[in-house]
Point group: C2
Chain length 174, copies 2
Amino acid sequence: MNFLEIAQTRQSCRKYNPDKEVEKDKLDAVLQAARLAPSACNGQPYHLSVCTGDTARRVAKATQSMGMNKFASDAPVMIVISEKPYVRTAAVGAKFKGNDYRSMDIGIVSAYITAEATAQGLSTCILGWLDDKKIREICNLSEPVRLVICVGYSKDDRLRDKKRKDLSELVSYI
Amino acid sequence: MNFLEIAQTRQSCRKYNPDKEVEKDKLDAVLQAARLAPSACNGQPYHLSVCTGDTARRVAKATQSMGMNKFASDAPVMIVISEKPYVRTAAVGAKFKGNDYRSMDIGIVSAYITAEATAQGLSTCILGWLDDKKIREICNLSEPVRLVICVGYSKDDRLRDKKRKDLSELVSYI
């Protein structure tokens, strides 16, 4: 699958098959891709907690306040992305430039995770609505949880139309 | 090229061939990929200003304070990523969860841009050290510039070893 096919195919999955586990070799490929992601000053300011079984369900529950993310309980794997401290050079850049490079790096690694998962025939959903405190307890983390990515097999493989800005709105040529 | 090959091949290029333009069809593919990137609540909170020729060189200059990014002057294309306002639902999430989803979204779209560029045989470098005010003037933008991505052909195609955390440090299984 080439990258444009991945980009076309990848969509947020909100209907997982709870009975279909993610094979170890596929999960390994996803984590290998994550490891290769670039980051500001190569700081890699994140940690991945890969949750399965009962732990995955507890993490799912911690994303479900106010009626959100009910589907997450069926995802067999939940990858929790927590934020690590800046390396010194990236911290200096962030301070001088008023930019949140760690969040950008977490975005990049999320894209790598979801792209390789798609290439492996897996479905994903990136969750930003989460209970930081609860997930830190479940995963024994001392640093902030930023995103959780559901990984599993979809019960509904139909490709939805992607609603995106027209290129003419997204892009200017200067 | 599959995604793991893209992840292995993609590296920050700091030596562009100033005489080799980026073909329109390749740049179009990169922008198509960017358009397909997912974002929090599908807000797509960014705009891409594609700079070439003299404009690219002016943008490059605006990334070069304190001796940084001298190589950028040779990149034939500079894609400036500026930040647009949140859509309402993402703004609510960001406020309640203390998360900078827009920076994450900008990270994701950067990963899509650099992945497809790599697939097209192009080289890239993501720059976070930049003069927001100057680039806003050059590109006629009213909103903050977050990243600039150099795009072009490398003068040095050797693949460097990637220095990354070991998987055992990056990942915990819970």
